[in-house]
């Protein structure tokens, strides 16, 4: 467009740079803190550049653990987080793809009832019904288990709605054509619906993996054993109210490690992530 853009563009660059700075600064500071020793931090002498203890700190936190209240090495916490995130993401995809297929491609009594039973759960997070849910899990002897961590969080309408919406866009002619080609419900699902849904599945996976990894209240309540702790809970326990007892470099190294996998996923799979986010919410 014929318009003097120089001033506007310059302002845009400045504002966006400030934005990136605001977004990145806390993380940079965390990274820097994870590379120094505790006295430097406690004395408030933390510089803005990385220090010499980077390797030591990460080695210790990953494989040894802190000397304080949580002695569990972070590597095992990360494994727990990973298992939970994976179980939630895959579990949600499987149950919602199946239920959406039933709701969209079958006509049967109570179809809409089933749909509404699922739909109502859309915007009600686990936080609202936290203690009764805790009691159910404890009655089922699922405290301190991976099942207990993952299964209750799988129940949500997000995935079903997303797949339902996507299936509705698959032309009816495809079903008719595959019928003529002799495919039944199972073959149509396996040979047509699933291959067409791959990007939707991948996008949902990215979002749900991040959702699962970042869970806080739920694992906080239902894990009591250190060995079942997730990394997000682990870091909470490392920060002791009295500053002197907190091993800040290790806590900050843990924070970095806790951010690493989901941030990595977002940056590497940005396209899928954006698609997943925009489509699950609309």
């Amino acid at each position: 467009m014929v318009e003097d853009r120089r001033l506007g563009d310059a302002i845009a660059y400045v504002i966006l740079s400030i934005g990136v700075l605001i977004v990145a600064f806390p993380v940079w500071l965390t990274f820097v803190a994870s590379s120094w020793d505790n006295p430097t931090i406690i004395n408030g002498q933390l510089p803005l550049y990385p220090g010499p203890y980077l390797f030591d700190n990460y080695y210790r936190i990953l494989f040894v653990g802190t000397s304080g209240s949580t002695r569990e090495p972070v590597a095992s916490m990360m494994l727990n987080s990973f298992v939970m995130a994976l179980a939630i993401a895959l579990g949600k995809i499987v149950i919602s793809v199946l239920s959406a297929y039933a709701v969209v491609y079958y006509r049967f009594p109570f179809r809409m009832t089933a749909f509404w039973i699922i739909f109502v759960t859309l915007m009600l997070p686990v936080e609202v019904r936290i203690f009764p849910t805790f009691k159910v899990v404890s009655d089922l002897n699922m405290l301190d288990t991976y099942q207990g961590l993952a299964v209750p969080l799988i129940a949500s309408a997000t995935g079903t709605l997303l797949f339902r919406q996507f299936f509705m866009t698959i032309p009816d002619e495809l079903l008719e054509a595959s019928r003529i080609d002799g495919a039944g419900p199972f073959r149509f699902f396996k040979d047509t619906v699933i291959p067409l849904s791959i990007t939707t599945i991948a996008a949902l996976f990215v979002i749900q993996f991040i959702y699962g990894w970042n869970q806080y209240l739920w694992p906080l309540l239902i894990t009591t054993k250190d060995s079942m702790q997730t990394i997000v809970i682990g870091i909470r326990k490392m920060i002791v109210t009295s500053d002197a007892l907190t091993e800040w470099p290790l806590a900050m190294a843990t924070a970095m490690l806790a951010m690493l996998p989901p941030v990595f996923v977002v940056i590497v799979m940005q396209r899928l992530f954006v698609k997943g986010l925009v489509e699950t919410e609309k």
């Binding site: 845009a12 660059y13 934005g19 977004v23 806390p26 993380v27 936080e127 159910v136 419900p185 906080l220």
Partner: protein, 293 residues
């Protein structure tokens, strides 16, 4: 809403729906109904006997100043986080939507905080603003501000607002950017030819056309502030000092944690439940309206 080509039968769809329905019933409907049921029960101090007390738990709840305080806290918290994160994100999105060189790089650099867990975001901000060792806290103190979120409720509130806003900007940014990009380019060009200068173009064309996105984000942000910020509050302030940052959800948790006031906690859950359902309904109404735009 319905396909014209479909399969029939009952067993197969029932089996397909079974896992989702079972999990939803066991982990959603059963606990939710338990919450409603418990909100009508009162346990004696020793946990021996439980009485059905109708609305006594609710009455007790609303007679406590602490509950009103949680309401006020939640209102302040949501208002600030929504206004700040929405307006900052909109500003960034409008800037990133100009056809700049390297706009995609900026986008990538602005969206990743979405992936940071709220609890971790809380830890980052706690560290920066820790009154004795935080870099930014020291900065504030050197300016003569007696910064101490552990003692000063307003400071604590400011800190959780900052952390929650920081975490939410990326999400709002992404949706605003998508919204801006979905405005047809020719409409903007028509406005240019119609002689609308950039600022006027934004307020008379772009912003009104963005209103569906803005409204959607407003509801999503309120839900975010209500629930997802639990991790931020728990790591940054733990609801303190003396309840200054205790939100409704946090109070459900802290009142129910010891198991001492299950009825009261359940009553709070039910109230929250109703609020969320109301918001969902509003969202729904809006989606309907959007279709007829």
């Amino acid at each position: 809403m319905q396909k014209n080509a479909y399969f029939s039968g009952l067993t197969v769809p029932a089996l397909l729906l079974l896992p989702q329905l079972a999990i939803t019933l066991v982990f959603f409907y059963w606990p939710a109904s338990q919450a409603v049921w418990q909100s009508f029960l009162l346990q004696d101090a020793f946990g021996i006997s439980t009485d059905f007390v109708w609305f006594e738990n609710y009455v007790t709840l609303f007679s406590k100043p602490g509950y009103y305080k949680a309401f006020v806290n939640t209102a302040i918290f949501s208002t600030f986080v929504c206004i700040l994160s929405l307006s900052i994100a909109l500003l960034f999105a409008v800037m990133a939507d100009r056809q700049l060189r390297g706009a995609e790089v900026f986008t990538t650099l602005l969206i990743w905080p979405y992936a940071v867990a709220p609890a971790i975001a809380g830890v980052l901000w706690l560290f920066m603003f820790d009154p004795s060792l935080g870099m930014l806290a020291r900065g504030l103190q050197s300016l003569g501000i007696a910064w101490n979120p552990r003692l000063d409720g307003n400071h604590a509130m400011a800190l959780v607002i900052l952390a929650a806003t920081w975490k939410q900007i990326s999400y709002n940014f992404l949706f605003f950017l998508a919204g801006l990009q979905s405005i047809p380019k020719s409409v903007i060009e028509a406005a240019v030819i119609d002689g609308a200068r950039p600022m006027r173009r934004f307020w008379t064309i772009v912003f009104p056309l963005l209103s569906p996105t803005t409204f959607f984000l407003l509801v999503v942000n309120i839900v975010y502030v209500f629930f997802d910020t639990f991790g931020i509050i728990d790591t940054v302030t733990g609801g303190g000092p003396s309840g200054a940052t205790e939100t409704l959800v946090y109070k459900v948790y802290s009142d129910g944690k010891g198991g001492s006031d299950l009825g009261g906690s359940a009553a709070q859950s039910v109230i929250l439940l109703i609020m969320v359902i109301a918001m969902t309904a509003v969202q729904f109404k809006f989606i309907e309206r959007k279709v007829s735009y």
